[in-house]
Amino acid sequence: MFELEGISKRFGATQALRPMDLRLAPGRTTVLIGPSGCGKSTLLRLMNGLLRPDSGRVLFDGQPLPSEEAAVLAVRQRMGYALQGGGLFPHLTAGQNVDLMARYLRWPEARIRARLEALVELTRFPGEALGRFPAELSGGQRQRVGLMRALMLEPDVLLLDEPLGALDPMVRSELQADLRAIFARLGKTVVLVTHDLAEAAFLGQHVVLLRDGGVVQEGTLAELEARPAEAFVTRFIQAQRRPVEGSA
């Protein structure tokens, strides 16, 4: 679905991403993981063209991301995007946030309504809360609205940046379960950024571990554990496991 060829990105003096190649197969959930500042969010933003690579190119569905603004916008409508906290527009109700793009594209009213109903059911969002403003929703509800908004146009891929980052543990684990069910039901290509290994293992089939702007290793978590490419892989896995086991 995504092919990244020799892409690199630099912000001022910081090399956010070193030149790399990466291929993400369609229909599965890929998790970009690594310590903060490793470049995982930058990588995600290169995929939907929010950022432009300094070198190399990004292919989406076999086509390079276009360079003109208008064409990129059209491609983005095929990529759902949700970020930490939902990124909801405070002046629009939950429902208006979700159907903003559909209305802009002049979808027929019936189609919008049908899609909204399907999404409410899919994300287990209380339908009556669609009329509320983001400030009147709980953190978990906001995240569900963000997800619905990302899914509204029935995109080919779903890009999620730390979607569960700001939630308390109870809500978080509930949403994790829901997300997994949703991913399974949709069977779409999902790219998820997280720094939480347990979440990565729970939600993703394919894990890409990054450090200092480069890919350290990719594969299933089992592969990473069994055949670590370098000592950092083991250290990263251990570091996230230990406190959980210690308290158990």
């Binding site: 929010l50 983005r76 970020l83 990124g87 527009f89 405070p90 002046h91 403003f133 983001p134 908004r149």
Partner: protein, 504 residues
């Protein structure tokens, strides 16, 4: 010659082209007056005589300065106004060295203007003493002061400094007095009263001459330039309105200095409104039927409210229409933004009075220049708040809008402007409240509004009149502020107010 004059008067050549012309039909006379009592009374006399001759007369009273009137007359926005020959020689046509009235007339004719015969009084600098004191010493003429070196003299600071003031006067008359001090003009009258000083400078038609019982000493060596009162009018208007002109010119020679002092005193000291002062005089001198149409307080207030609101609303709407797009531009393009904000900031620092006066050669007198000035003042708060409101939108919202695939125009309309709306509205509110206050200065250039009674009140030292303008202006500012609170409820998206409530 013409070009030189234009240069002297700071008039731009292309401006004269667009002077509005009255349409034939009913005769009309538009009268102007300066912002001191004597000029207002004269203006009122002209207007009444014009009306008597069947013309529709408009009196634009207390305009903010000699140049304002002169320019308005030249541009054809006024037909007549009272002026002084000295002012014409020393200020308006300075540097032309016009020795006599014939030369003056010739210079005016080149401007398409004409001048009446003197109205009869000369309002120039003069020296005055208490009548009793002058009588006791047998003083009638300035030259007689030479024989009394012991007299205590007190002059206004301006008179002490002016080249044609005290230094030249002493030289001309060879005055021997040693005890001469400078003091405030108003204090001079009290000084005379208490005997602290015995001679002071005054204008020969000051109302105080009557009030304090002063004798004006004759300028027997003709030291002071003549400031004969005359009427200036437009040749072109005069040709079309001969009858009206004839009626107005009945004022020629009608007003002696003593008469003018009395009229000034009646208005300034007895607080009789100028229209009534004028009416009484014409009834007495020319047997014209006295009839003063006086507005009730309510209708005056209503008229001024309309004038004031007109100034504020038109200028504000214009400012919003221009400043919001400029603010958007400033937020999107950093370099353009700095230039726009810098320019708007510079406009804001121009004193309002100066800005108003600068507008006159461009736009004449009345509400137009006032509206343009207010419009310019309204720009900065709105541009700044629009730019700040847009810049203050959190990064994740910006990114979300972009990631959804909304094009820039839709992002602006559907996301950015609504999110910035509280800030933009606050900017418009600031501009509106500033404009309500600043619009009071519009009266200085004939735009009317609440500034008119304030101006008259200051001139007559009448607190009641000042309040008649100041109180409604303050109330209007409060009302405008309250209106915007209400507008905020209507226009700022509810979701923003909810979140504000939460985070506050």
């Amino acid at each position: 010659m013409r070009a030189l004059l234009a240069g002297v008067l700071l008039a731009l050549p292309w401006l004269t082209a667009c002077a509005p012309q009255a349409t034939g039909a009913a005769p009309e006379v538009r009268v102007g007056s300066k912002k001191f009592t004597e000029s207002v009374i004269l203006g009122e006399l002209v207007a009444r005589l014009g009306r008597e001759a069947g013309a529709r007369a408009v009196h634009r009273r207390e305009l903010g300065g000699t140049t304002v009137l002169w320019e308005a007359l030249r541009r054809g926005e006024l037909d007549v106004y009272p002026e002084y020959t000295g002012t014409l020689r020393q200020e308006l046509l300075a540097g032309r060295n016009l020795r006599d009235d014939a030369a003056l007339r010739e210079a005016l004719a080149a401007e398409g203007l004409r001048m009446s015969a003197p109205l009869g009084f000369n309002n120039t600098y003069a020296l005055g003493m208490k009548e009793a004191e002058a009588e006791r010493l047998g003083l009638r003429r300035i030259s007689q002061l030479r024989a009394h070196p012991e007299l205590r003299l007190g002059f206004s600071n301006e008179f002490m400094d002016r080249a044609d003031g005290w230094p030249a006067l002493r030289e001309r008359y060879q005055l021997p007095q040693r005890e001469v001090r400078g003091l405030d003009h108003d204090l001079a009258y009290r000084g005379l009263e208490s005997g602290a000083i015995q001679v002071t400078d005054l204008y020969s038609t000051d109302a105080e001459i009557a009030a304090y019982g002063l004798r004006v000493l004759e300028d027997d060596l003709r030291h002071f330039p003549a400031y004969d009162a005359v009427l200036l009018y437009r040749e072109e208007w005069a040709r079309r309105n001969e009858q009206v002109l004839a009626a107005i010119l009945r004022m020629e020679g009608l007003l002696s200095e003593r008469e003018m002092v009395a009229l000034n005193a009646r208005a300034r000291l007895e607080r009789v409104p100028e229209p009534q002062v004028a009416s009484e005089f014409l009834a007495r001198e020319l047997g014209l039927e006295a009839g003063v149409r006086s507005d009730s307080l309510g209708s005056r207030l209503w008229r001024r409210t309309r004038e004031h609101l007109f100034l504020v609303l038109v200028s504000l709407l214009g400012a919003v229409a221009v400043a919001v797009p400029l603010g958007v531009l400033a937020a999107k393009r950093a370099r353009v933004g700095r230039v726009v904000l810098g320019l708007a900031g510079i406009i804001q620092t121009v004193p309002s009075l100066a800005l108003l006066v600068v507008m006159i050669p461009l736009l004449g007198i009345g509400s137009r220049p006032a509206i343009v000035a207010l419009f310019l003042y309204g720009l900065l708060p709105i541009v700044r708040n629009t730019a700040a409101g847009l810049a203050g939108i959190p990064g994740d919202l910006r990114e979300s809008a972009e990631a959804l695939g909304l094009p820039p125009g839709a992002r602006l309309w559907r996301i950015e402007l609504p999110l910035a709306s509280p800030s933009i509205l606050a900017g418009i509110q600031t501009a509106a409240v500033i404009n309500v206050g600043t619009a009071t200065l519009g009266a200085l250039i004939g735009a009317g509004g609440y500034g008119q009674p304030i101006l008259t009140g200051i001139r007559l030292d009448d607190t009641g009149l000042i309040l008649e303008g100041a109180v409604p202006a303050a109330l209007l500012a409060l009302a405008v502020s309250a209106l915007f609170e209400g507008l905020e409820r209507l226009m700022v998206p509810r979701g923003l107010r909810v979140s504000q409530g939460r985070t506050a």
